[in-house]
């Protein structure tokens, strides 16, 4: 399968004006790729995931195209998208596990769902059972009510249901956020196994938790204020990210092993801009320690090496500073933030 998203713009209608939640996003996903979509609240990652499947009443498509397996997806047309939903492209929405009808047994709910897509429940049941056991759930789950299952079990069950008809693309929106550490690992590994077993060809995993993405994603895309900041293979992103935001973000994450008394981490001061009237030019400009005058002009999202794209005028310098990982080189570059970043990647 292949997905091409080209200059996608989706705005929200509000009384105060249009919120430019997605403002020109372009990327591609190859067959078998798990792409992690990371970013902080308000960056537009959930909007991106949702708009590929379903534009609700408040969202409007302002521009851009989405092409799945060579077919242009009519995302603005709710009824037309019905042909694609669940069969070709499927989503596990945020809070899915809380949205299960508490008065329905799981099996009955699944039955109603597949029947509405013209698939006989009886025919698909053996496959359903096979997949349930693959994620570690017994067949008895089908006879239970949602309230009888734990968070992790519900999430895995929702994953099985969403991928029952073998969609080409699965979008998983914050499926590990509300879970305990042990369940998170099980759910994340289940996602990977779905791709390995070819139940799903490719995935977009939307989350704010970069460390989970490091574990299971092949590529990472980082969004900021409605635009893509950087996209690269996961290992490349960790070792030689080229966007200041990506670098600073990764540098602010404590991993097991780093202690406050030894290494003082720091965050990124300031807050993301309001998307109602976003600033012109690079949206990270106000918080970026490397901002220069040119940043008043919006940097294009360009490929700097195969499979690695960045939207920053100074991406080459960020790369260079990363390579010269000494504190001495810091004073030469003259940016305290680079020092933090360089120290971080050394440790």
């Amino acid at each position: 399968m292949s997905l091409q998203v080209n200059d996608l713009r989706v705005y929200y209608r509000t009384l105060a004006g249009d919120v430019k939640a997605l403002d020109g996003v372009t990327f591609e996903i190859a067959d078998g790729e798990i792409m992690g979509l990371a970013g902080e609240s308000g960056c537009g990652k959930t909007t991106l995931g949702n708009s590929l499947v379903r534009l609700d009443g408040r969202m409007k498509l302002v521009g851009g195209t989405v092409t799945l397996d060579g077919v242009s997806l009519p995302i603005a047309d709710f009824d037309e998208m019905r042909h694609f939903r669940y069969r070709d492209i499927s989503i596990i929405p945020q809070y899915a596990m809380s949205a299960l009808n508490p008065t329905r047994k799981i099996g009955k709910m699944i039955g109603e769902l597949v029947e509405s897509r013209d698939v006989r429940y009886r025919e698909i049941r053996p496959e359903l059972e096979r997949r349930l056991s693959l994620v570690g759930l017994g067949v008895d789950v089908l006879e239970r009510y949602p309230i009888e299952l734990s968070g992790g079990m519900k999430q895995r069950m929702v994953m099985v249901v969403s991928t029952l008809l073998d969609p080409s693309l699965l979008i998983a929106d914050e499926i590990t956020s509300a879970l305990d550490v042990s369940s998170q690992k099980a759910v994340a590994q289940a996602l990977q196994s779905f791709r390995d077993h070819k139940f799903v060809r490719s995935m977009i995993v939307v989350t704010h938790d970069v460390s989970i993405l490091y574990q299971i994603a092949d590529t990472l895309a980082v969004m900021y204020a409605g635009r893509l900041a950087e996209k690269a293979a996961t290992d490349v992103m960790m070792e030689r990210a080229r966007h200041p935001y990506t670098r600073l973000l990764i540098a602010s994450l404590p991993e097991v092993g780093v202690r406050y008394d030894e290494t003082r981490l720091s965050g990124i001061p300031g807050t993301p801009p309001s998307l109602l009237n976003p600033p012109t030019g690079c949206r990270f400009r106000d918080r970026c320690p490397l901002a220069i005058e040119k940043c008043a002009e919006e940097p294009p999202f360009v490929e700097v090496e195969p499979g690695h794209s960045v939207a920053c005028w100074r991406s080459a310098e960020v790369a260079a500073a990363g390579d010269a990982m000494t504190v001495g080189a810091v004073s030469a570059v003259g940016d305290a933030a680079i020092a933090t970043v360089a120290n971080r990647t050394v440790a």
Partner: protein, 294 residues
């Protein structure tokens, strides 16, 4: 953070502006408020135009409306308009008083049950449920049978004492959900005492809800008062819209074709109570954006 959250935070900046916007445009609110104001004006101004005892025998017997007696006269020559204006006052008073008493009791019971929870909540809920299932009409008939003289205030008191349970339950539910929010805990660890927590932290958060509850209690009280008056259990002196209807029926106004005697009070009660309920719905739509048609 979902797209809804992005939208919510940008929207709430203009929330007050938004409420005013819809309040001035909501047809339900405008029309119902106009009706209520219209009748309130009559209630205030009417007795000034037609001073004196509305039950006095002043005019020709059973006369239809004309230039002098706008609503005609009763079988005994009483000015129907004067009765109507004075009755409106009585009706509004009964509604306001009865509604206020019910609101007060409902709030006290609801807040305490919702905030404290546990055993106190169970006891208060049991008490509320008992009052709820008592057949109030039967009770009132029994009580009034023992009272020789009844005034508006006694009537309003009875209405207030028997119509508070549903308000208490509604307020309890809201208080329950608000009390679990962290700002209540924060107030508690700031040393604020429970009563102050309820009135300065929780109640303001449900102010629109309390307002709507009061409007419903007001309307309900008017309706109950009119019903009681209509079956003859109303005040023994003075006049009210329900009493007018009682008298009209008692003196066969319908078969005798004296439409001017019972239609004005009928319309009055219907319009006022209806307007109050529609006002409630209209305000609810304003306070609760999710209910709007857009």
């Amino acid at each position: 953070m979902t797209g809804g959250a992005i939208v919510a935070s940008t929207e709430s900046v203009g929330r007050r502006r938004e409420i005013l916007y819809f309040a001035l445009r909501g047809k339900k609110v405008l029309i119902s408020s106009s009706i209520l104001i219209f009748f309130a004006v009559i209630a205030v101004v009417g007795p000034l135009i037609r001073p004196g005892d509305p039950n006095a025998f002043v005019g020709p017997l059973a006369a239809p409306p004309d230039g002098q007696y706008w609503f005609g006269t009763t079988t005994f020559g009483q000015d129907v308009f004067a009765q109507f204006a004075s009755g409106l006052r009585a009706t509004f008073t009964a509604g306001l008083l009865g509604g206020s008493i019910a609101a007060l009791i409902g709030m006290v019971v609801g807040f305490v049950a919702g905030y404290r929870g546990g055993a106190i909540d169970e006891i208060l809920s049991m008490f509320t449920n008992i009052i709820l299932v008592i057949p109030t009409l039967a009770l009132l008939i029994v009580i009034t049978a023992y009272l020789s003289a009844r005034g508006i205030f006694v009537e309003a008191l009875f209405i207030g004492l028997t119509s508070w349970p549903w308000a208490a339950r509604a307020i309890r539910a809201q208080t329950f959900s608000l009390a679990s929010r962290d700002f209540v805990d924060l107030a508690r660890i700031s040393g604020v005492r429970s009563v102050r927590v309820i009135f300065s932290e929780i109640a303001p958060n449900m102010s629109s809800y309390l307002f709507l509850t009061f409007i419903l209690l007001f309307g309900g009280a008017i309706l109950i008062a009119a019903s009681l008056d209509f079956i003859g259990l109303g005040p023994t002196e003075g006049t009210s819209l329900g009493l007018m209807m009682y008298n009209a029926v008692a003196w066969s106004a319908l078969p005798l074709g004296m439409w001017w005697w019972f239609i004005p009070p009928g319309i009055g009660i219907t319009a006022i109570v209806g307007a109050l309920y529609v006002l409630n719905v209209g305000l609810d739509e304003i306070f609760n954006p999710r209910l709007r048609e857009s």
